[in-house]
Symmetry: C2
Subunit: 351 residues, 2 copies
């Protein structure tokens, strides 16, 4: 297969700017490697609410379902964040898209770049060499559980529920990844308090039998929040439920000092979506200062997913070349910096 349908959802804030560099670069890759990428654009997030009233219009969902992969920018808008009463919110679009496409595993690699190590808030000796892969369950748990508010009686609740079948697939994925790496898997949970966490522990222990070469250990989420800062090098692959994954993977994303560089993949049985870890960053919108690298590296994860490993490798090399040669945006080098478009074009040209 040499021709691919890509659904492109630029979304809100700096989303459109960074995604634009990714499509630019995909075109360059197409030329060099003789692939065709056909882009179909869809509305999503606050942008979609403003234009259609719906954060995930039916048409967008269709485009995604028919595509080989989805390239996604970011969502979120301050006008919704400051209004707890808003019934329609950009986040609902993303949550619904994940659910509809069955994207049960959110994968975030955390690597450090030696030329950027001094950007980390952590001391060099603590962070240098850390290399973690986080698997976050993405379509179940408390974010998708039943929710209810009774204004009169003055209470609200959210239910966190997990079935074995919702736990097992991502645990298998994480074990398989650990086998390719340093063979250590850590489950993060709160099994000393929560029933769902105890179920996660059980399922992990059972599945561990099938991967005798991988060492499985367990860590309470409160302790994990500390250990990530104290000694991030102790981790290889992490697997965890939805909400813990949200918190822990965001915490992990800043310790390397370069959240603007971190990609993510959300994988299901039939679909996959690729997005930078950074959010919509509305303050930077339209200024040409957003760092496109996270989106570009998400594109590299997409190429891997599409079976285009060689192109993915080439793309990663190009990004590293740009970074090592300080062809970077303002966030990485205040003295001499380039615009979003310049960095994207530099990478595209190098390919």
């Amino acid at each position: 297969k040499t021709s691919f349908k890509i659904a492109v959802l630029p979304g809100d804030g700096i989303g459109p700017e960074v995604v634009n560099e990714s499509t630019k670069i995909l075109n360059a890759i197409g030329e060099v490697f003789n692939y065709t990428f056909e882009f179909t654009y869809g509305l999503m997030g606050a942008e979609a609410i403003f234009k259609t009233g719906n954060p995930l219009p039916e048409e967008t969902l269709q485009i995604c379902k028919e595509a080989d992969a989805v390239l996604f920018g970011a969502i979120g808008d301050p006008s919704f964040d400051h209004n707890p009463d808003a019934k329609v919110r950009p986040e609902q679009g993303l949550l619904k898209l994940r659910k509809e496409l069955g994207l049960f595993a959110n994968i975030r690699p955390l690597k450090t770049y030696s030329s950027l190590i001094d950007k980390s808030p952590l001391k060099k000796e603590i962070i240098e060499g850390a290399d973690i892969q986080i698997f976050r369950e993405l379509v179940s748990g408390i974010y998708f559980g039943e929710k209810f508010t009774d204004e009169e009686a003055g209470y609200a609740y959210d239910i966190c529920k997990y079935y074995r079948d919702e736990i097992a697939p991502i645990v298998h994925m994480a074990f398989q990844e650990a086998q390719k790496r340093r063979k250590k898997l850590t489950l993060i949970d709160k099994a000393n308090v929560l029933d769902t966490s105890r179920l996660w522990r059980k399922v992990c222990k059972e599945i561990a039998q099938e991967y005798p070469d991988v060492e499985l250990d367990f860590m309470f989420v409160d302790n994990a929040a500390m250990q990530l800062i104290l000694n991030p090098k102790q981790f290889d692959v992490i697997v965890t439920e939805n909400m813990f994954g949200d918190i822990i993977s965001d915490e992990a994303s800043v310790i390397g000092g370069s959240i603007g560089l971190l990609p993510s993949a959300s994988i299901g049985n039939e679909n996959a979506l690729f997005e930078p870890i950074h959010g919509s960053y509305p303050q930077a919108k339209g200024k040409g200062i957003a760092n496109p690298v996270a989106s570009v590296l998400s594109t590299a994860m997409m190429l891997d997913y599409l079976g285009l490993g060689q192109a993915a490798e080439k793309l990663r090399q190009s990004v590293e070349y740009a970074i090592e040669n300080k062809y970077v945006t303002m966030d990485l080098n205040a003295e001499q910096h380039y615009s979003t478009g310049e960095v994207g074009s530099f990478i595209a040209d190098y390919i």
Copy 2:
């Protein structure tokens, strides 16, 4: 009032050792300031399970209810952590004690010590001068909600529920503390997804009317996990629900570089409990290497609570004197260090 009944629950691991220094020091304070502290000891945690089968024996609960304040060490034992099927667990004792005593607010001050700033995993310029006070709701939310496991059907759930009445008291407390400090209060929640978080936001906004001199802002928990590392100085007082508080306050506890120094208070309408933030640290048990300072500073919080502000101040000064003069345990100075008991006696003598 010059005579006080103190319930002492040493608990597990290094708990007994550090609490022992606290009572030693309270005796010294009693002599100097002419107070009487009457100690009544109770079993709690794994220790209590081994001896009575119950992590919180009825007798212990009674002792606590009759006391003016509770001094607590730590609980937790590896034999339970590694057994997800254990029906009786040390943590249940602590959770039940919090609930029974109505300790709805867990308060953790985070301060940095200039002589210890190089112990922080964060770079000096990021952490130096950070001064945060965290208010964690402690007796509701998902840790206390209905839990259920259906082995047959292969699922489990945990319910996070909040009533307005469970939110308002701690929010008032946090606003009042902010008034005495830099007048900034941050609510940490996940209001873009959870109903309970939206209820927290509403209640906070309403109560804010009564504290017009305090600036209230909101932060999503995933972002907060990042901001604590990127820029801890932006926080003054933080208020949050039980589980987010568990994670965020533990994360905050390590950024100063000295979790062995951090105290906490758990306050209710009629009772209060004081405990170090560090856990039972079973590996260090009985070795005389545990740092007693967190327990001692918890004791200072207890003195404040009992209305003995002058004694509390004197105790804090003594601790600072010990630290500045490097009269510390191994964790703070590997080259020259003193035992748990030596550090405790040094502080007691200084008083």
